[in-house]
């Protein structure tokens, strides 16, 4: 059978509901046992308890089996088997209920209305056709009991002391009850399946709408990628052509010429930084599955420290690295993890004044690898914290300090962390500093 994502959603829901039904059945086992016990002990109605307990035991046994087999079917995604199982469960439930009713008074026992609950459950879980087939089965076994007992084809287990006259022999009563019961059952089947069909339809259209949105977003990202890539080529060419002239290779320049060309070159460089960041985040968005490998965290931190250390020294800032000795390997895309850490560290460096401190702390807290970047920088205003990792967003105090910035560094880091099923946590106080924690699961 061809399966589409939206069918998968519904099949997955069915699996959840079957598990739910199994839990409900344990309650039913307790309920039946409790009812039989109460009726015989406290109401002194001498029903024959052993057949009833027997049926309940059967109920418990098959429920145990279903509970045992269900995780297996779920893990292997055997959706059609789960569907068969759902039908089989309701079929067995109806049969059990029929036996319970038969052994405790037949038509005299008002618990026969519980058949309706099973039909409602079928209507929620199964298709319209399956529900009506099960409803018809319920009608047949009900009629078999009441008419069988009426005509003496089946033994009647009375409820002594409840009714003065045996109701099962009263033809008019039996026919009347059967009519009400059969119509109630089919009405329940009709109503439940109608509602549930409509809900399924809505769920399908929502799933479809969601898929469409995803596709649109992908098209947009691909477009951005293409345009940005072209922009970058042109920018790189502009930069490459200006550079030798500005450096005097095409003849000595006077001060004004050098000044203006330097400005042009600087701006093209800034634009390239921006375009590169845009390319990076768009590529990350389009990456569905990245190949994850194991690599040494210690080596990565060493490399990062080798590139950030000199920058910090140059700017008269202190850069400290603290690595938990327990840290060993992690699984992920090495270049991306490196990129995430470098982005955040460069931000810290940019927004921490001279003589400030930037600390990179790596901790092992099984099953998490926590990488903290702590700085004594300008901080992020509290009301801007929720927006700070949004693409292109820059904090007001950061903008006041440096007019230029892509506003993409942290969003790229966030995307990378999400790709590794990790979390990013940002704490900050204006004027005191910022602490960004990247937590990546070691159990990827």
């Amino acid at each position: 059978m061809k399966s589409t994502p939206k069918d998968d959603v519904i099949e997955k829901k069915l699996a959840d509901q079957v598990s739910w039904l199994i839990s409900l059945r344990w309650i039913a086992v307790l309920g039946v046992t409790g009812t039989v016990f109460t009726v015989t002990q406290f109401f002194n109605i001498p029903v024959e308890v052993w057949p009833l307990y027997g049926v309940t035991a059967f109920l418990a046994i098959y429920n145990g089996l279903f509970a045992w087999v269900m995780p297996f079917l779920r893990n292997r995604q055997l959706h059609s088997a789960i569907r068969v199982l759902a039908n089989l469960q309701i079929f067995l439930d109806l049969t059990c209920l029929a036996f319970l009713i038969h052994f405790s008074g037949g038509v005299e026992n008002p618990f026969y209305f519980y058949f309706i609950f099973h039909i409602i459950i079928a209507g929620i879980l199964l298709s319209r056709r399956e529900t009506f087939v099960l409803a018809t089965y319920a009608v047949m076994i009900f009629l078999l009991i009441v008419l069988g007992e009426q005509y003496g084809l089946l033994p009647h287990h009375r409820l002594p002391g409840v009714f003065a006259v045996s109701l099962h022999e009263n033809f008019t009563y039996v026919v009347g009850v059967s009519f009400v019961f059969v119509s109630a059952l089919y009405i329940a089947a009709y109503l439940t399946t109608s509602i549930s069909d409509r809900l399924h339809e809505r769920e399908r259209s929502l799933t479809r709408a969601n898929e469409l949105l995803g596709e649109k977003d992908k098209i947009k990202s691909e477009y951005v990628l293409r345009v940005t890539h072209d922009l970058k080529e042109d920018l790189a060419a502009i930069h490459t052509c200006i550079e030798p002239v500005q450096k005097g290779l095409a003849g000595r320049l006077n001060e004004e010429q050098t000044n203006l060309l330097s400005r042009a070159k600087e701006r093209s460089k800034q634009l390239i930084v921006y375009v590169n960041a845009l390319l990076e985040i768009t590529r990350l968005k389009l990456t569905k599955k990245a190949e994850m490998n194991s690599f040494s965290v210690m080596e990565l931190i060493q490399e990062i420290s080798d590139s950030i250390g000199p920058m910090a020294r140059h700017e008269h800032k202190l850069f400290e690295v603290q690595v938990d000795p327990k840290v060993s390997l992690m699984k992920g895309v090495r270049v991306y993890v490196q990129e995430a850490l470098l982005n955040i560290l460069k931000n810290s460096l940019k927004y921490t004044p001279e003589k400030g401190t930037i600390t990179l702390r790596v901790q092992m807290e099984w099953p998490w690898l926590r990488m903290k970047i702590i700085d004594t920088g300008i901080g992020i205003p509290a009301d801007e914290l929720p927006k700070i990792a949004t693409e292109f967003y820059r904090a007001t105090n950061a903008k006041a300090l440096y007019k230029k910035g892509t506003g993409l560094g942290l969003s790229i880091a966030k995307k990378i962390v999400e790709m590794h099923r990790g979390t990013i946590d940002i704490e900050s106080k204006v004027g005191a500093g910022t602490c960004i924690t990247l937590a990546i699961p070691l159990t990827l």
């Binding site: 920018l235 030798p244 450096k247």
Partner: protein, 127 residues
Amino acid sequence: MKKILIIDDDEDVVEAMRFVLDKRGYKVITAGDGNKGLTHARAEKPDAVILDVMMPGLDGFEVARELKGDPQTKGIPILMLTAIKDKTGFDFQKDVNDPDWLPVEDYCNKPLDCEVLVEKIDRLLLK
């Protein structure tokens, strides 16, 4: 006079590189795509090749493998122009010496810094 072959489809970048290398005293020949590049490399026996990655037809990776696989041209050092990480998420630098990955001697990110370009080419030709 040492001869350098530039294989790149971006005429403006080629022009700027030609100018810089020319000033440095190198003889520069150019090719606008991978196939022409291979032909020139075999016919002209340049002392070094500057190779772009993204080109129509044969791309830089294919050209590099072709050059290094040919006994006539395998001794020519290649400087590849790429921000390889952008394309593959793969850190190219670590694998420069890995013959299975990419058989080139050095690489240089675009946009080029003319001093870096000259320095890298000088170094390749010294080897």
